[in-house]
Amino acid sequence: MQELTRLQNERVILMGNEAIVRGALESGVQFVSTYPGTPASEIGNLFSEIAKNNDSIYFEFSTNEKTALEAAIGASFSGLKCLVAMKNFGMNVALESLIPFGYTGSKGATVIIVADDPSCHSSAQSEENSRGFAYLSHIPVLEPSDAQECLEFVRLGFQISKRFHLPVIVRTTTRVAHQKAVVQTSGLPKVRPSDAEFIKDKHRFVTMPPRVMEMHQELLDKISIIKLFVEDSDVNYVYGDLSTNTNTKRAGIITSGVAYLHVLEALRMLGKDVPVLKLGFFYPLPEQKIKDFIKPLKKVLIVEELDPYLEKEVAALAKSANPKLVIYGKNILPETGEMNPEIVAGAVAAVVRKKYVVPQSMVEGVKHFPRFCSGAATCPYWRVFAAIKKAVPENTVFGGDIGCYMIAALPPHNLYDYMFCMGSSIGIGHGIAKATNGQQKVVTLIGDGTFFHSGIEALLNAVYNQSNLLAIIVDNRITAMTGHQPNPGMGKAAETDAAPEIKIEEVARALGVKNIKIVDPVDGFDELVTSIQEYYPKNEISVIIAKRICALLEKRQKQ
């Protein structure tokens, strides 16, 4: 993907995530850190290639989202322009550092990309809506709708961050991050290799009471100034003309993100001309612009995916601007799942009283369940799960985690009894083991990447508080599911093939685990079965590392 660095002033097709990378390059980004997570993963993959041959950009795959954000905070404090990328749940991990980052603010301009996944196309955890982080952190949030805006909003984010010394969040969703569209690029600035220096400034970087209370106030003061900037910003604009709005009974639409594109599509489908207020800023909102928009209206439709944040804000603003305004939103639109043109068309039609029947297909669909790779590259996990079935009784409690092996939750395995989030197989399994006095045996599965991300802390707790679970660490020598990113177990990192190789067994031993085995699940299948059988009855914690390279990776290495 070196092409991204070669583009000049051109019109090209880019994916949303590619446009984000390009926007960061056009802003002269110097420091990029990430933990891979769909639908944000391509950002890190692209930068890992770009940074390899570039002295002026540092890139790392951090061990988790919190360390990724913290690395960027340190670089920002040292004066560098920083980009951090993660998926929505990643922000939960990073949150502890995000909140004080609002208080201290950034020094080098910093943009944080967070990618949501309405409809959970590639997320097993929840439909979490990252816009809510704005209320927690008071950090500005921008919401691009298309690939062009991905590029422009990243640039705008860097400009705002530079001017107001606050990090800026750019929030995408799957249909934005994985959308390809025509994008106009601009030239790249000349970025010199960094001569960054951390200049001590305790007043600015140390959050301790009573100073921390002042910082809180300073943050709110910054936001009031940014509100003025937002009112004037052209990323919040009206599409269509209020004055020609006669045949639609003075209706209007307020929307943001990809929903805006569905709204325009819906209006075309319905042949209707309704003014649309398109919001590029989610936080802070252009309150006056919204008031001016709703003032002459009889009714307004708020089209936003997931939670009705905008709807509540508009309702509050309408109290003074237009108390009689009829507000439509989640009363006629779903609060779960992503939107699409026909769902939006149905809602618009209801508001402007036009007949529209949402097309329903009579054809019954099918569902291919995701599965472990087979054929020319047969996944070693097949053997891990065969060994487990063979070795332990069915009433065992099975804990799953986040990675390719979560496929064992699906047919034909139907294995897991609980599955949550990164690292939680061991954390929750420990609680079950303690609650049942170790009577219900818990076997947990976690991959190498996820173990390094947040399994270590959970294992430490299980050892320290003495539960008897059996943790099987499926080590396929790479972070596979998100597209083969390196992790600390490989002896490789983003920009080097000579990183320290962190051995899982040494980590487990250092945490105090006494029963540890390493087995190849394919060549050592029988040994894996007997190892599980040996450890299963133990009344203390055991770890088995089922170590075998991802078959896809092995095939690629041979090519």
Partner: protein, 189 residues
């Protein structure tokens, strides 16, 4: 009604849906059209059901094909056409690769598939693209490119063959050009 051309490609993860999307969108862009597409990555890619959308025309808004507006539905796995069919109208053209992988749930046979589509559209074509590509090129991974060439030749996809050839060269490393260009033209022979 606008004149946006809407394509839905359905299949299972690993069949090269995103490659097809790249080629078609590049070709459409080179022909001067506005283009928007949507694709899925991550867990769904591991052999699960996947569908991607490609839309081109004078001005395209949503990256998602509205239901009832698909002009062309390509299924790289035969059962997956039933998912693509959710976007069909009476005028939709269906190109179905005669190739089946088990769903790991209830599988649907080709006769049943044809029956379910009978009321949807009259233009349903089942083509043994995987088999032909395996036999003639020794590689079934290009069966999607074969179907793409077929669609262009039959004028089911309003883009010139030349543009698609160029798009293959623009979007793929040079070592894959020969195989893919052969596959693109294979339906002619």
């Amino acid at each position: 009604m606008d004149k946006t051309f809407n394509i839905v490609i359905s299949g299972v993860g690993g069949q090269g849906l995103v490659t097809l999307l790249k080629i078609i969108s590049q070709a459409a862009f080179d022909e001067g059209f506005d283009v928007k597409t949507s694709e899925l990555h991550g867990l769904s890619q591991r052999g699960g059901s996947v569908e991607v959308y490609i839309r081109f025309g004078e001005q395209v808004f949503s990256p998602m094909v509205p239901k009832g507006q698909a002009n062309l539905i390509i299924a790289l796995e035969q059962q997956e056409v039933l998912n693509g069919a959710q976007f069909a109208s009476k005028k939709s053209i269906f190109l179905i690769n005669k190739y089946q992988t088990p769903t790991l749930a209830v599988d649907v046979g080709l006769d049943e598939i044809k029956q379910r589509l009978a009321d949807v559209s009259k233009k349903v074509f089942v083509i043994p693209a995987s088999e032909i590509c395996q036999k003639k090129l020794g590689n079934e991974v290009v069966s999607g490119i074969y179907l793409l060439g077929y669609a262009v030749r039959k004028k089911y996809l309003p883009l010139p063959m030349k543009s698609l050839e160029e798009a293959i060269k623009k979007t793929m490393p040079e070592k894959f050009w020969e195989l893919n260009l052969k596959a693109l033209h294979l339906s002619k022979t």
